[in-house]
């Protein structure tokens, strides 16, 4: 308890610590937002709630890590992870997701939960249960007498993440496929009548989602660490973000992503690093409860 109070008072004595926490949080939050955007995309278009989202992220990280170990320059890991995860996403869609789209929501939730367990275990068998990361040989920038350190690697990571996000948004706005995806999200039956091959749209959307997650994972492995069983916490973060922001609300997803990144960093600072997982999950419960109270208000209650 004393330690917690000490950590809190540190925030007030040295306001610059806040700055460091927020910068860290925003950097990592940008990556959460990417995974959440993918989740919102799949959720909105085909009404599948993908609990294997985080495992796609981790798998992308391992793809980048694997190629880097084979001598590929680290930054190429991101596009490679994008492509490899695209293919894996397509296979997963064909084998599993395509068969649960029309079913009730719990079915897709449970099927993807099974998928998540499977993927985590396969990665565990292939790569072992140690944490892994790619060390980039860049300097670290220091500000405020060294209180705030910003590794250039993290800056590169954020830049990559934002350009990926911009690319995806432009694609969704401008391209034919993007328009077809948005049309299907609004009304799949109408889209089908208008001659859109929704089956193709679904497959494309899911693969795109896996690819986005994979790229995010490839960035995470450069700035953080990955481990086969970290997937579920990324899935939960993605759910927190989408639940807080709502579907089809892109600015909301980005804001919630950054906010959750910052909130987690604050939590880790105050309560200690051991609580990081717990904080991610508690945020989920808080967001769900908030939504519930909001809902009650709409449905009126007196007692």
């Amino acid at each position: 308890m004393d330690q917690i109070l000490g950590n809190i008072s540190l925030l007030f004595e040295f306001p610059v610590v806040n700055l460091k926490i927020i910068i860290d949080g925003v950097m990592i939050g940008a990556l959460f937002a990417l995974a959440a955007y993918g989740l919102a995309l799949v959720w909105g278009v085909m009404n599948v709630k993908n609990l294997a989202q985080g495992d796609f992220v981790i798998a992308g990280g391992y793809v980048a890590w694997y190629f880097t170990r084979q001598g590929v320059p680290p930054l190429f890991g991101v596009p490679l992870a994008f492509v490899v995860m695209w293919v894996i996403g397509w296979v997963v869609y064909k084998l599993v997701i395509s068969r649960v789209i029309e079913r009730d929501l719990f079915t897709s939730l449970l099927a993807t939960f099974g998928l998540a367990i499977m993927m985590a275990q396969i990665m565990n068998l292939m790569f072992g249960s140690d944490t892994q990361s790619i060390q980039l040989k860049y300097d670290t920038l220091y500000f405020f007498d060294g209180f705030v350190d910003v590794p250039i690697a993290k800056l590169i990571g954020v830049t990559l993440a934002s350009s990926l996000a911009v690319g995806v948004i432009l694609f969704m706005k401008k391209s034919r496929m993007g328009q077809a995806i948005r049309a299907t999200a609004q009304d799949a039956r109408a889209a089908r009548i208008l001659g859109i091959d929704t089956e193709k749209v679904y497959a494309f959307t899911f693969s795109l989602n896996a690819a986005i997650c994979g790229a995010a994972g490839a960035i995470i492995v450069m700035v953080w660490v990955i481990q086969p069983f970290y997937g579920i916490s990324y899935s939960i973060r993605a759910f927190v973000i989408v639940t807080a922001a709502g579907l089809g609300n892109l600015p909301g997803v980005i804001a919630a992503g950054l906010g959750i990144g910052a909130a987690e960093q604050y939590g880790a600072h105050i309560f200690g690093i051991g609580y990081q997982q717990a904080i991610a999950v508690l945020l989920l419960l808080i967001v769900l409860l908030y939504r519930l109270i909001q809902q009650r208000r709409v449905r009126q209650s007196l007692n």
């Binding site: 449905r299 009126q300 209650s301 007196l302 007692n303």
Partner: protein, 247 residues
């Protein structure tokens, strides 16, 4: 007769669209009150406001003198104010008798009663009411396999099983085979006279409503347009205009 439902200047809008504006009406205890109006005139909205599906913007709704406009659906239902749905809602996987037994008035049960089994009287009452609506022969069939009209009759029987004091019916004759409508009118009247249930009915079929109701209210564009006995309503030029779209 005294009024059992008293609606005072109720307004309800959905994002700028005024669904009900300053609507006031009274439902007389023990009577049959009709609610008519062209499509989109706010009839179902008013029903939903009464039974608690959404909050109202302003006004007051009283049931047996008690303000209910802020209560939730199940609390209102437990007062004995029940509604049927325009799109029928029954338990399709269960058979008719099971549907009836589910509809036992839980508000009259103490918590420990709910751990009891259904009594012989419950079964007899279920059979009697199923017979009353003409579904006795089909009572052990899976109710989802019944025709739409039969499902509607089953929902009506379920509502009666619940022993409500007021029953709100949303278009009871819609989708029912025209040859069966006369029978349905008789049953509704009987439910009113024999079981003593006050009825408040939304109905599009003029012949049906003119035949049953003591008092009729007509809504148009969310506002109360006219009220009176069937004869008065039939003779009211504004009502005729509203239905012809001249309003």
């Amino acid at each position: 007769m005294s009024s059992i439902i008293d609606i005072q200047s109720v307004s309800k809008s959905f994002g700028g669209v005024l669904a009900n504006t300053d609507v006031s009406m009274k439902v007389e205890k023990g009577g049959i009150t009709g609610l008519i109006g062209p499509n989109g005139s706010g009839k179902t909205t008013l029903f939903n406001s009464i039974v608690g599906y959404h909050p109202i913007d302003s006004g007051s709704i009283r049931f047996e003198g008690k303000e209910i406009s802020k209560l939730q659906v199940q609390n209102i239902a437990r007062l004995g104010l029940l509604r049927t749905f325009q799109q029928t809602r029954i338990y399709g996987a269960m058979n008719g008798v099971e549907n009836m037994l589910i509809s036992l008035p839980h508000r009259k049960m103490r918590f420990f009663d709910s751990f009891g089994r259904n009594t012989k009287e419950d079964y007899e009452r279920a059979d009697m009411l199923l017979d009353f609506v003409g579904l006795y022969e089909k009572r052990y069939l899976q109710s989802g396999s019944l025709s739409f009209g039969q499902q509607k009759l089953l929902e009506f029987a379920m509502a009666l099983m619940n022993e409500p004091s007021v029953l709100l019916l949303d278009e009871p004759t819609a989708g029912i085979n025209p040859t069966l409508i006369n029978g349905l009118i008789d049953r509704l009247k009987k439910a009113n006279t024999e079981f003593g249930i006050t009825l408040f009915i939304i109905e599009h079929n003029m012949r049906v409503i003119m035949n049953m109701a003591d008092t009729i209210y007509c809504l148009a564009h969310g506002k109360l347009l006219a009220q009176g006995t069937p004869e008065e309503i039939q003779g009211d030029q504004r009502v005729v205009d509203a239905y012809l779209g001249a309003h």
